[in-house]
Symmetry: C2
Subunit: 695 residues, 2 copies
């Protein structure tokens, strides 16, 4: 060992793929002292994941990154189903929207993972200088952990750094995978048909000697290090992936196709009569991704001949399936092959000090475009919780909700993938009596039914201190609901939601976005754009017609009591660099950090009849001695000059006569729905009491 | 002289403000060998121009830059008019949309000039590597031209470099204006109340001795060097600014206001009873710009006491006008003062070899937010013309249309500003009998009438080879129409437009944008997004219901003849780096450069009844041996899955039964409207014959 140094960090992230970078982005915005290490020399340049689901785009948009994906990506609007006709020739027999209309302002889109990684790095850099003065977080490449231990005696000590990790710094040569030299020479690199390369890297490094090592102490460590997760293995033999492999082998090709197949710019599901199945995913840059079933290499006994898998083999299989249409290419960007398997980790964390996220705890087939999304979803769920606990804003007990919430999603994903993969890989039924074949009606129906799940919008977290709802209120009762119910126990919220006050704001689901008009300035906004991922909780007050004195009194009394109570008692912290992703970076600093509870009023009075300062309590226009009154907290559900009416009350399911109060977590999920009165205000206090560290 | 070197460039741009950078962006996209020099050490960091008009946003969007402005800027949605009530207290007596609804997908917005300059530089960098292999264009700062001459004998020689310019390279110290050291110490820097600093710079440089000079030969030189334009002066005494100054002195403050004035986030026009007028422009970053009339320093004889002008004086004037509301601030970002004047240069070019653009040929008051926009508009008009002439795509005679088209706009601008400034600076009329006062009804009406002009959407260029229309067809007959008619003579187009075939596509005006749905992939697109600024001409074929055999024959016959005729004869050139600003950069190269004539079909058959390759001529799906067929040229005027129906035929004023053909210039202005038949095809041939260098 040539060198050794000690250092303390709040969070150490192992792995700088989409999950690790999403987590790093959250922690950079919250100003948490974080390091992120990755064994590779560089980010991904082609291939790998490419599907961006609706909810992922909403999340990226909350960091100001969504537009970059949205602009460069290919938007996936329509899906075509091609099946054999009576002569065995493929024919388009259905088209459908790829995403159910009305779910979001986004639709599914496709862009290669490397661009996303670049966007993440830009967004992380944009978090600095941070008001806390924390040094900028940068990805440390060619760094590999070699040991990890947890001091269990300090696991519940808020101020302790109970995790010790040794990191080895590799040289460029040690860290460069052979595959980088020729992208097309071995497409199986990083596929689940390939082994892991960590051992080889370490051996190379040890043989050379003199590698630099350092030991660091962390409050928290998160393994975002993929299907072969070193972190998971370091947690011991109790940490295992549970699930199964199928016999199906699939090849993947990213090409610029030269083809007369008419739907090549649609997402297509093609089942040929006897040559297997093909999925077409049109991508950016005139690329098209083909997923092709490889019947030649499947032995039927779960084994396959890896040496047989070449781009030519994959391409020839595609050609057969798409025949009689012609298919050729000049440019091939990337290829791989994989065996379909569905596995979930049995534990997502150890002592709520070391966590696993992404492929480290769930693997499945790539064709539903879920992998990168669910991985980023894990990290998005964990990031603010870790950050707010590190910053002494939130109680440490909240961390147990990570496994509660995300293991449930992983299980739902695996159940979905299991069903969908079998339907897609199976041979089309010849007729109604062909029981081993797959009915194309069944497949098409399953696809359409899956929209809520695959979009990410259907996520519905279980009750906990963060989600106040009756236990029986689960949104998606699937046929295999028993199987996917989480085994994690969580402390329930003390507060009680009154669901019928905001019928489309169900606790545990994401608060949807509708257009409202700014009281000051008349600009129409998606309400999501007023909920940047800055670590703040949001209380939406649906105040009804505040031009009526009685209603205005209700709204102002609620605000006054909230202000004197929970807002005074809640911690104040410089959480974010004030970067409002939709209005540029705020160059001028507030005199005082704002409350972690952000209150927004959505009324439906006539806009011209209201003046914010004259009519409304200061909670709705907080004052800062350097920046003056904040005119950006009051919105109208009304007609805009150029963009129509958002019908937000209708969208959120709020009766303007009754009003409602909705508490939204920093990740945009509904925590509580209650009433705009004394009783509701008490529920809000109880809800925050179970979550925040109150003064 | 320590050093001297010769070099040849196609275009030399003097001045790297918004006009110079817009021109540089065009030329970088077209791969033209260009240098751009600026005397300053750096771009603008605060203050200066801030208003982005609708047409400017459309133009920026065509380079892929519009979104960055749109995201960071404050959107200006509503304007309030405040006037004295019967007691002399200001009261809001009207509100109106800041832009007329329905003109565009954009509305006016506000962001400081320095951000725009940064975006330009990023966009220029993104033009490289360029397929022509031209070296990247970079702004050369601290460089000052010291002499300019034109070899008139070579002025009409296409291959000559008839302009000789000597450039002096300054040191950092020589080029740094004193003002940079303390932004607030002298806000009059760069105001029209300040003198020019070029002479001082040169004297400093000469006193020191040893400055590096170089002589370069250019095909074209463009002076984008502001109101004190060195280039204009170098063209000799015949080049002068014509116009007048008023007595009105205005101050400008950019502050983060602390105020209870309820409309501080609206654009406001406040006329006080006796303290003068105030305009409020709400900006990004919680900033607000105040334009304040300074009655204290106006002498009434066109003179003023410059030493009296301080931020305190300006602020106190604002306070008086806005009273009884309170106004304070903690942060002041920038301030300046100016005297209102309206001037236009008598010539915009010399021998069509040296051109003047922006403030170098028109100055006026800043309050209508026109300056930066009209300046960028000049450069946008000139850029593609210069670029396509340099690349031997277009005939040199076309260059005379620059003065024809832009002098007309400058004159319209000055006429508008003259009227608007007087109305805004004038004292409000006490009653109907008060003839020297300004009637507030008149002011408010003038403001609303001005929308078409101030938005930039009303621009309507005169007839020329590029604009085929009857001479009498001018869109905005203003009361002072005689005055603003251009004195430039232009060769008319040989082609004849048939205006009633596309009633909302008037030759000389910008082709508007409506949503259509991609035949392949079903994605909804604004048609503007299929018209990137890449130097290509576009022929829009409104083909009607092509599921009908007779209509399809018409559309395909038109295509076949166009293909055999003008498309074969037109030059082919690698014009742009293939950067489609709305679909990422195309990473894969075409085998052959595409035609400079891009043909797009907009039909209104049922989408599912059409298959591009089966039903349509290859002009609508051009083939490239490396990239295959282009599936991105056929669009449907139909319902989209998520974004409604664009009603494009209605929007463009095309009867689906008749169809139409619209030729659009590379800058998005309509050149010709004709019919979808043999006669129309001949008009298209004639139009291009007058513009391109045909084989």
């Amino acid at each position: 060992m040539s060198g050794s140094s000690d250092s303390e960090v709040d969070v150490l992230i192992v792995g700088a793929g989409p999950a690790g970078l999403m987590l790093a982005l959250w922690l950079s915005r919250l100003g948490v002292k974080t390091r992120i290490v990755d064994k590779r020399t560089d980010k991904v340049f082609s291939g790998q994941a490419d599907g961006f689901q609706i909810r992922t785009l909403e999340i990226l948009d909350s960091f100001g990154v969504g537009e970059r994906v949205w602009k460069e990506a290919n938007h996936m609007i329509e899906v075509s189903f091609w099946n054999p006709d009576e002569n065995g020739t493929i024919k388009r027999n259905n088209t459908a929207p790829d995403n159910m209309p009305g779910m979001s302002r986004f639709t599914e889109c496709v862009l290669h993972q490397g661009r996303m990684e670049a966007f993440f790095m830009d967004a992380i850099a944009a978090s600095y200088p941070h008001p806390t003065g924390v040094p900028p977080l940068k990805v440390e490449r060619m760094v590999l952990p070699t040991s990890l231990s947890i001091d269990e005696s300090k696991a519940d000590d808020d101020d302790a750094y109970p995790v010790t990790v040794t990191l080895r710094h590799l040289t460029e040569e040690e860290a460069t995978p052979t595959q980088k030299l020729s992208n097309l020479s071995d497409g199986l690199f990083r596929s689940n048909l390939a082994g892991d390369d960590v051992e080889a890297m370490l051996q190379k490094s040890e043989a050379r000697g003199g590698a630099r090592e350092e030991t660091i102490k962390a409050k928290y460590v998160v393994g975002c290090d993929g299907a072969h997760s070193w972190t998971r293995k370091a947690l011991g033999p109790d940490y295992e992936m549970q699930g199964e492999m199928t016999d199906y082998i699939w090849g993947v090709l990213d090409i610029v196709p030269i083809t007369d197949f008419p739907d090549v710019r649609n997402r297509c599901m093609i089942h040929s009569a006897s040559n297997g199945s093909l999925m077409i995913i049109p991508r950016e840059n005139k690329l098209v991704r083909l997923y092709i079933q490889l019947s030649e290499v499947s032995t039927g006994q779960g084994r396959f001949d890896r040496s047989k898998i070449t781009p030519e083999l994959i391409f020839n299989a595609a050609r057969k399936i798409i025949s009689p249409y012609k298919l050729d290419y000049h440019y091939c960007d990337w290829w791989t092959a994989y065996q379909i398997g569905q596995r979930v980790g049995n534990h997502f964390s150890k002592h709520d000090r070391v966590f696993l996220a992404g492929d480290a705890v769930h693997t499945h087939s790539p064709k539903a475009g879920q992998g990168m999304n669910v991985s980023m979803g894990d990290a998005y769920n964990l990031g603010w919780k870790l950050g707010l606990v590190c910053k002494n804003v939130m109680q440490r007990s909240i961390l147990s909700t990570y496994e509660l919430e995300r293991k449930q999603i992983a299980k739902e994903l695996i159940a979905f993938d299991h069903k969908f993969s079998r339907l897609f890989s199976g041979r089309p039924a010849k007729d109604i009596l062909d029981e081993t074949g797959v009915s194309m009606e069944e497949f098409s129906k399953a696809f359409e039914m899956s929209h809520m799940f695959t979009s990410g919008v259907g996520v519905d977290y279980s009750p906990s201190a963060l989600v106040s709802k009756p236990e029986e209120q689960r949104l998606i009762p699937e046929e295999d609901d028993q199987e996917i119910k989480s085994d994690q126990q969580a402390v329930p919220s003390n507060a009680q939601s009154t669901l019928d006050l905001a019928t489309h704001c169900k606790p545990g689901t994401r608060f949807p976005s509708f257009q409202v008009v700014a009281q000051s300035g008349a600009r129409p906004w998606q309400l999501h754009h007023k909920m940047p991922s800055d670590g703040r909780f949001r209380v939406f007050v649906f105040g009804g017609d505040v031009s009526q004195a009685s209603q205005r009194d209700l709204v102002n009394t609620f605000a006054a009591e909230l202000s004197a109570g929970v807002i005074t008692k809640a911690p104040k912290a410089s959480l974010s660099p004030g970067a409002d992703p939709h209005a540029g970076t705020l160059r001028f600093k507030m005199d005082q950090p704002p409350s972690v509870i952000d209150v927004l009023l959505v009324h439906n009075a006539k806009r011209m009849e209201i003046e914010t300062l004259r009519d409304l309590h200061e909670v709705y226009h907080p004052f800062d001695s350097k920046l003056g009154w904040d005119y950006d907290k009051v919105f109208v559900d009304g007609e805009s000059y150029h963009d129509g009416h958002g019908h937000a009350y209708e969208g959120y399911g709020v009766d303007p006569q009754k009003g409602a109060v909705v508490v939204v977590r920093p990740d945009g999920y509904v925590g509580l729905v209650t009433s705009l009165d004394e009783a509701g205000r008490k529920e809000v206090e109880k809800w925050f009491g179970g979550v925040l560290r109150m003064a």
